[in-house]
């Protein structure tokens, strides 16, 4: 593979409220046994990308803990494997303001690398994308930058961080930032392919002028001012955007639909995650679990429907959970009733407590709290 990967772990932290109080967007648990970064990292590994840099800003301890030595994804922490790129102390106030500035911090990593192309990505969009195909398409197009974008998300109401419009042959005709793009736009996934040397030059030129926003200060500006050759790779398969708490909630529950699970898990690629060695889930005589995803280590005595139960959830007798996302290590005691809630890791719900949200406004309980 002629490509290397760079994953931004923090860029959208602020959109996910209390869920990212103590962790990066990348290490936010998703889908019962994964962290969000598992998807992009597995995609890179499955696409034969051997060198990946992970740009971090703050709260990255949970991320480091999750990644360990990288071996669960078949990577190792070394020059030609996985590199964590925390902010350098010599930059401004220690943390960066945008992707370009973050990349400026990581310039030695980029200049030392040998890959011809760089794949940039966030960990907000969950998919099973094959970057070999994206790279082939990028090379064939002769473009300087390829943006991976999906149809169906632009609806004229939702404000998209990055959207493009292109004609039938894929030529870009419009590039918009923070725009409630109409339906004929494609929504950017935050995944880009750029030539490594070209990217290095771009970083040096923009950051030296006080510009740090990749999409606005580089891609959009270069496109309009200097005729940047921009190519769109249209991705038509499952792509779940977890860019708000509501979307995060809805996308977890979307995994209950077979076509969504198929799109993420049953293709040729495997999604890897940190190995935990937990026992299989146990269902007691009183358990009634339907239309749920259940991870290892759960001990289930109550009832649950249309919910995602992460690892090691304990569900007491006569407790009932519906339309909820229950993260790792949560204990729900006897007789508690939960509907439309997101319980972060290690929450305890006391006996007979009742917590109800709505599908539009799920109740979020912060990590470790007792209700």
């Amino acid at each position: 593979m002629k490509g290397m990967g760079i994953i931004f772990s923090n860029i959208y932290d602020k959109y996910l409220g209390e869920l990212t109080d103590h962790r990066t967007v990348a290490s936010l648990p998703f889908g019962g046994r994964y962290r969000q970064i598992d998807f992009i990292l597995s995609n890179m590994r499955n696409s034969g990308i051997s060198q990946v840099g992970i740009v971090t800003k703050y709260h990255y301890q949970s991320l480091m803990d999750h990644l360990g030595s990288g071996q669960d994804w078949d990577y190792t922490i070394q020059k030609d494997g996985l590199s964590l790129l925390p902010p350098f102390a010599n930059s401004h106030d220690g943390v960066y303001r945008g992707k370009l500035e973050a990349l400026h911090n990581a310039l030695p990593f980029l200049t030392d690398a040998e890959a011809e192309y760089v794949i940039l990505s966030d960990s907000v969009v969950q998919s099973a994308i094959d970057f070999r195909k994206v790279l082939q398409s990028h090379i064939a197009s002769g473009a300087e930058v390829t943006v991976v974008a999906v149809p169906g998300r632009a609806d004229g109401k939702r404000v998209l961080p990055f959207a493009v419009r292109c004609d039938a042959d894929g030529t870009v005709t419009d590039v918009a930032i923070e725009y409630a793009a109409p339906k004929d736009f494609l929504c950017g996934t935050g995944m880009f392919i750029i030539g490594r040397q070209f990217l290095i030059k771009a970083i040096e030129q923009t950051v030296s002028r006080g510009q740090y926003h990749l999409e606005k200060d580089f891609i959009q500006r270069q496109y309009y001012q200097n005729g940047l050759k921009l190519h769109v790779y249209r991705f038509d398969q499952v792509a779940l955007f977890n860019s708000s708490i509501l979307e995060y909630y809805q996308n977890n529950l979307a995994l209950l639909r077979p076509e969504i699970r198929k799109g993420l898990f049953q293709g040729e690629s495997t999604i890897y995650t940190k190995i935990h060695n937990q026992v299989p889930a146990y269902y007691s005589k009183t358990a009634q679990i339907t239309d749920c995803l259940v991870a290892d280590g759960c001990y289930l005595e109550g009832s649950a429907e249309q919910s995602i139960l992460f690892r090691g959830v304990r569900l007491g007798k006569y407790a009932s959970v519906s339309r909820s996302v229950i993260m790792k290590g949560v204990t729900i005691e006897q007789g508690a009733v939960l509907d439309c809630v997101i319980l972060d890791s290690d929450v305890t719900v006391r006996k007979h407590a009742i917590l109800k949200g709505t599908p539009e406004h799920p109740v979020v309980v912060k990590k470790g709290e007792t209700v």
Binding site: G32, T273, A281, Y282, Y283, I289, T290, L293, V294
Partner: protein, 345 residues
């Protein structure tokens, strides 16, 4: 750690790999699989448990150990071997044998240890007709390496020996006046060398108070090689009761008092009761599996019926479907029947 294996080393090799899941991927030591191999003069299968160790003297010798711990791979239990080693050292024993109490009426099926109050063994009887005690050997031994080395060398040259620890080596050591001690173990232990016992050991994991709890007080983590499966999905038809279900399954049928391994599919209307389903098995709509073990990668087609409710709960006849089998629609397999592929040479 060395793993002695006589047959089919490929699967075991793949599973153990470099030992990383068990934290055994060390630069020095770690884990090695030791199948019988050809030497310059002769090559031979392992003739007995003692002979298997004898043939790997050079492997043990490389580490210059003080003690050697000998274990069986087909026992299900949790034990802290360092407690046993401490007892061995305190007693100043030449060999320590882990023992557990069995009902006296069953004692004639085991190697029975007769020991004094101090734990010192004065007699070892392999499957005695009239057992004098109910302390059964668990096939777990700690030896001083020098004692083991000498004992096995001598045993190797004894023409009538079957080269077995229980039958030959231990009685001989006693005869020579060596210090053998019993170390009593109180937890759950099961030899899963037979179909019934393998099935029973799985059933022992289930129920409100399982005989062998995988979690809970005093429980230590059990490590295994993990595959990257997504969570299990339970459909609207799923009814799961007193069962363990691993990850990567899609279940829309009924599962009672059973153990379902990774990557299994159980379609709507299928029923699994008191059974053990190994990885990647597909059970199609309306199939029934009762009191059975289904090995990995099988497909049980619609409305097939495997096994029956036993007449007596105490002695169920377990049906077995060997790995990679396909059982056709509406095919019946009787209680206690075993179906498997003919081995291709």
């Amino acid at each position: 750690m060395g793993i002695l294996t006589q047959y089919q080393p490929l699967e075991l090799n793949e599973y153990i790999g470099n030992g990383q899941p068990w934290n055994l991927n060390r630069a020095h030591g770690g884990v090695q699989i030791l199948p019988p191999y050809s030497r310059s003069k002769k090559s031979e299968w392992y003739k007995g448990t003692a002979n298997a160790i004898y043939q790997n003297f050079s492997f043990i010798g490389r580490y210059q150990p003080e003690y050697v711990l000998i274990l069986s791979g087909d026992h299900i239990y949790q034990m802290q071997y360092d407690d046993m080693l401490r007892a061995h050292e305190i007693a100043g024993a030449d060999c320590t044998i882990a023992v557990r109490q069995v009902p006296l009426e069953e004692a004639s099926r085991f190697g029975i240890v007769n020991a004094r109050q101090t734990g010192e063994i004065y007699e070892f009887e392999e499957k005695p007709k009239q057992p004098k005690s109910n302390l059964a050997s668990m096939g777990i031994y700690i030896f001083r390496w020098d004692i083991l080395q000498k004992a096995l060398e001598e045993d190797e040259n004894r023409p009538n020996s079957s080269h077995d620890f229980g039958k030959d080596v231990l009685p001989q050591l006693l005869k020579e006046g060596k210090r053998l001690f019993a170390y009593q173990f109180h937890g759950y232990w099961k030899d899963v060398g037979t179909i019934e016992s393998l099935w029973q050991a799985n059933m022992d994991l289930l129920g409100p108070e399982p005989k062998f709890a995988l979690v809970g007080e005093g429980h230590k983590q059990i490590f295994c090689r993990n595959e990257a499966w997504p969570c299990s999905f339970l459909g609207r038809g799923a009814e799961i009761d007193q069962s363990l279900v691993a990850e990567g399954c899609e279940i829309d049928g009924k599962v009672y008092h059973s153990v379902i391994s990774t990557g299994c599919q159980v379609e709507a209307g299928a029923v699994i009761d008191h059974s053990v389903i190994m990885p990647n098995v597909t059970v199609k709509a309306g199939a029934k599996i009762l009191y059975s073990i289904i090995a990995e990668d099988c497909v049980i087609h619609a409305e097939a019926e495997i096994g029956q409710m036993p007449v007596s709960e105490e002695f169920p006849f377990i049906s077995v479907v060997g790995k990679e089998m396909e059982i056709g629609a509406r095919v019946c397999i009787k209680a206690g029947e075993i179906v498997e592929r003919e081995e291709t040479p």
